[in-house]
């Protein structure tokens, strides 16, 4: 068995030796450097711009402003194209703009022979602005006389509302208790270690090649085509090894610009690479949410209704803004699927950096609100927090109120039970005093989550794979799906080896995507790849296997139905110890026999029409130092139902990484905006408190593994979910320790101080 074992990741050696090549590790003779001129105000118009001095500087190849770019508005969200005109992404960007919508907006760009000259040229551009009042907060953006950030929108990107599972008013009347709460989440930035970077050049007078650190090469190709009005077939996007994305590279940020620049400059190679400070404001951030939740309960402690009213701030441009709240709402519904579920939501524009996709796409924000509210519910009823969730949480066989489809596999309750054991919940509850008084107080907390394994039925879920048998009996596997660090290439190789009867080392994954070569797949997002692309890989492997057996049967004269592949050999199905020949023998014959055969290849494409849900929880034991307003995590566990685990070691790593990001968002991280000017105070890795190794405690991960029937290896999603539940679990543990409910993130000493002071604790 290869599936289910912790084989070494396929790109591991390349990465520990530093041989793995990322976008910036490639260079070309004569490559130029591009740099943006970014606005120094958050809202207004460029009233005049003078680039003549910059253009005259020796070493400058070109200076382009909003006046020079195509008058073509486009959408940047990395979604697959939608055939439904009501479900298109929002087109609200030009390559460069004279209408400044956040501090750092892109108004001009310089191309020069070196970094230094490009920087010098930027300083020679004269810009004058007509400034408007920056609209930073919702109340400003939605004020009656507010200037429209995008014309005709009233500063509202989208409003949604739905009720699923019953009549809201009727259920409200049936409830014995209605509880309300309001919860706020902050602006978080992805901080993938490799910044956004891309370069482009031309192959001839028409064809543009773009090399980019992207999660979505095939989508990037389409969006560049749309933005520049070029045929898709003339654009080639190559994705080398990528240094993390977490959703920030599920957006088309630099690719249209580098394509535009090389085209303008007769095809010379142009690199555009953002530095950290630029990237933290000029790419995407996580949407801050402000959510009001109402929970309806009966006397027994059953949750009858969940209603929420969410406000999401997408900042300067829509990016993914139109779909974040609805996706978050739909995916979190599965936590408590037997309750009536109702949502009203509004996403607004404002003059802060554009928010887009980030790990778990709206679910961390929604789950923070719901799991805080559920904690109040349990406490109001006097019920144990874990018991309350065991009573109300999803079970296999429950029906989704939204899709009306049953939940096939659900390990939520088992994961809660496992979490209780791991943290010693019952024992600590029994031993710890009910009321604590000292300066340092201990608390236990729990929160649960649910998530999806892709985007179906909201979006199309296509994946494709190709396998080529080599002369040595190994195979090359090409996928359009993208390895971004999460380990998908290794999981694909495991699945291919398993289906083919090959040993793991005989599968070579082509890790770099090249849209001229690799088959179509929409890329890395929505934790979709092992679930969706895995099925394309399995189908391709089955085809290749059938072709190998067919050729082996021609060579050996044995019926193809009597033989199979095992351990890199053709063997008799009934007696696998009898080796007929090696796969290599078949390959050599197929390639070189003058009379028969040919290269053996297979290709399959697949569209997922299922979206199984994943579940799990966080359990935490922490201490709160009341005078210092500081939280110390003593123990923390995430328990996941992701179906059958393909690679336990890598799965554990995904969980650890998500937990650390969740802890960061819970306790430290916040991109801070000046409410008057719209200036970001801390767009660097020193002042933005991304957790270091000192800030993250020992992490525990565990799995429950129901076998998902819709996947050939029983697998469901894993990449994003680990980030979802740490923040509410930590918040609930602080409440447990101190009696104080912190209803906003991050729960940094600054925030905690405010709450403790109000509560009279300090």
């Amino acid at each position: 068995m290869v599936v289910g074992t912790s084989v070494q990741r396929v790109d591991g050696v390349a990465k520990v030796t530093g041989k793995a090549r990322y976008t910036d590790d490639f260079t070309m003779p004569g490559m130029r450097v591009a740099k943006y001129l970014r606005s120094t105000i958050a809202h207004g118009r460029v009233s005049s711009i003078d680039t003549s001095q910059a253009k005259a500087l020796p070493g400058v190849d070109g200076v382009f402003t909003f006046e020079d770019v195509p008058k073509r508005i486009y959408a940047t969200a990395g979604h697959p194209y939608s055939l439904d005109p009501h479900h298109m992404d929002i087109t609200d960007r030009y390559l460069l703009t004279d209408h400044v919508r956040y501090m750092g907006d892109e108004i001009a760009i310089v191309v020069a022979v070196s970094d230094l000259i490009a920087t010098k040229a930027l300083s020679l551009i004269d810009v004058e602005y007509e400034p408007y009042q920056p609209l930073v907060e919702a109340k400003d953006a939605l004020a009656k006389d507010a200037v429209e950030i995008h014309k005709g929108t009233g500063n509202v990107v989208k409003a949604h509302s739905f009720v699923a599972g019953g009549d809201l008013d009727a259920v409200r009347k049936e409830c014995d208790q209605l509880l309300e709460g309001q919860y706020k989440t902050q602006i978080v930035q992805h901080c993938h270690l490799e910044n956004h970077t891309a370069y482009a050049y031309m192959d001839d007078l028409e064809r543009i090649v773009i090399v980019s650190s992207t999660q979505i090469p095939h989508i990037a190709r389409r969006i560049v085509a749309e933005a520049l009005e070029i045929d898709t077939g003339l654009i080639r996007v190559i994705k080398p090894t990528i240094g993390g994305g977490f959703g920030n590279k599920q957006d088309v940020i630099l690719e249209p610009m580098v394509a535009f620049l090389t085209k303008k400059l007769d095809g010379i190679p142009v690199r555009l690479k953002l530095d950290r400070e630029e990237g933290m404001v000029g790419t995407r951030v996580r949407h801050p949410f402000d959510v009001k939740v109402q929970i309806g309960l009966d006397q027994e402690g059953t949750v009858k209704l969940i209603h929420f009213d969410a406000l999401s701030n997408t900042g300067a441009y829509a990016s993914h803004g139109h779909s974040i709240v609805s996706a978050g709402a739909a995916k979190t519904h599965y936590m408590y699927p037997r309750a009536v579920y109702s949502c009203t939501a509004k996403t607004i524009y404002s003059n802060i950096p554009a928010a887009g996709a980030m790990r778990a796409y709206g679910s961390p924000q929604m789950t923070f609100a719901i799991e805080c509210a559920m904690e109040e519910a349990a406490r109001t009823l006097g019920m144990d927090s874990a018991e309350f969730r065991l009573r109300n949480g999803a079970r296999a066989g429950d029906k989704s109120q939204i899709t009306k489809k049953p939940i096939m596999t659900c390990g939520l309750l088992d994961s809660i039970k496992k979490g209780k054991d791991l943290i010693g919940w019952d024992k600590k509850r029994a031993l710890w005093p009910k009321e604590q008084t000292g300066e340092v107080r201990n608390g236990l907390g729990v929160a649960i989550f649910s998530y999806g394994s892709g985007t179906y039925p909201v979006c199309v879920e296509p994946a494709s794979a190709r396998l080529i048998l080599n002369q040595d009996g190994s195979a090359h596997l090409q996928v359009g799906a993208t390895e971004i660090g999460q380990g998908s290439d290794t999981a694909f190789a495991q699945m291919a080896a398993e289906s083919l009867g090959f040993s793991f080392s005989k599968i070579h994954v082509v890790s770099c995507q090249d849209t001229d070569v690799t088959p179509f797949d929409t890329g890395s997002y929505a934790s979709r790849q092992t679930y969706v692309t895995g099925q394309a890989v399995m189908r391709t492997a089955e085809q290749l296997k059938a072709k190998i057996l067919h050729h082996a049967s021609i060579i050996s004269g044995l019926e193809a139905t009597l033989i199979t592949i095992s351990g890199d050999n053709i063997v008799i199905s009934e007696s696998p110890e009898i080796v007929v020949m090696s796969v290599q023998d078949v390959a050599i014959d197929a390639y070189y026999n003058k009379e028969r055969g040919g290269q053996i290849t297979a290709e399959a494409t697949y569209k997922a029409r299922n979206n199984p849900h994943v579940f799990g929880c966080t359990f935490v034991d922490l201490s709160v130092d009341i005078p210092l307003c500081r939280v110390k995590i003593n123990e923390i566990y995430n328990i996941h139902d992701s179906g059958i685990i393909i690679n336990p070691l890598m799965a554990e790593g995904q969980v650890h990484g998500g937990m650390a990001m969740g802890i960061g968002a819970a306790l430290f991280e916040e991109l801070m905006v000046d409410p008057d000017s719209g200036k970001i105070y801390n767009n660097n890795l020193l002042d933005y408190k991304v957790p270091t190794i000192m800030d993250i405690p020992d992490l525990g991960a565990a799995f429950v593994e129901p076998n998902e029937p819709t996947h050939p290896y029983g697998s469901k999603s894993l990449g994003e979910p680990p980030i979802i539940s740490p923040a509410p679990a930590i918040r609930n543990a602080i409440l447990d320790a101190t009696g104080v409910a912190i209803n906003e993130l991050p729960m940094s000493p600054k925030t905690i101080f405010k709450y403790f002071k109000n509560a009279g604790l300090i």
Binding site: G12, K15, V16, K19, G243, G657, N684, I693, I696
Partner: protein, 159 residues
């Protein structure tokens, strides 16, 4: 201003003509040592860490001219004759590599740690403190600590 520096990189003597304004990371990368990554360029993330006379430094903050006469080690040089170093192998054994962008720098700090503390019994706290100059956004650091612990184990026993 152009100057010549002579140093040893991964056991090989080199002599480079450099612009005195260039950082060590820039010079190393230009000369093909692309394991040296740039995540911030200002000494916040540790992705560009190399060993300079045995001590991990952020090469983005270190002028190349200062490295004249020094012995430099980068991740490329840690595997020898097709075999990974014990730290590199421990990173693979413990799943300490995801996107890999932080990895070459972290491998060098772990190498410094393991060489420095050989024979000692170390705590997780000590491992944390001596890797605090690195940001890894993917792993949550747990597997990195485990990799270092794996490297320290045999020496502990031998004590």
């Amino acid at each position: 201003m152009i100057r010549t520096i002579s140093c040893t990189v991964n056991s090989k003597p080199v002599s480079w003509q450099i612009d005195v304004r260039m950082s060590l990371s820039e010079v190393l990368r230009t000369n093909g040592f692309t394991s040296v990554k740039e995540g911030c360029g200002v000494g916040e993330c540790g992705a560009c860490a190399v060993l300079l006379d045995g001590i991990a430094v952020d090469s983005c903050l270190y002028l190349a001219i200062w490295a004249d006469g020094c012995n430099i080690r980068t991740s490329e040089g840690e595997s020898k004759g097709g075999t990974l170093s014990e730290v590199q192998q421990a990173y693979l054994d413990n799943g300490s590599v995801q996107c890999g962008f932080c990895t070459p720098g972290l491998v060098m700090s772990s190498t410094e740690f393991v060489e420095k503390h050989r024979g000692e019994k170390v705590t997780r706290d000590q491992i944390r403190k001596e890797h605090a100059g690195h940001i890894c956004r993917c792993t949550g650091y747990e597997s990195i600590i485990r990799a270092v612990e794996q490297c320290m184990k045999p020496y502990e026993k031998g004590k």
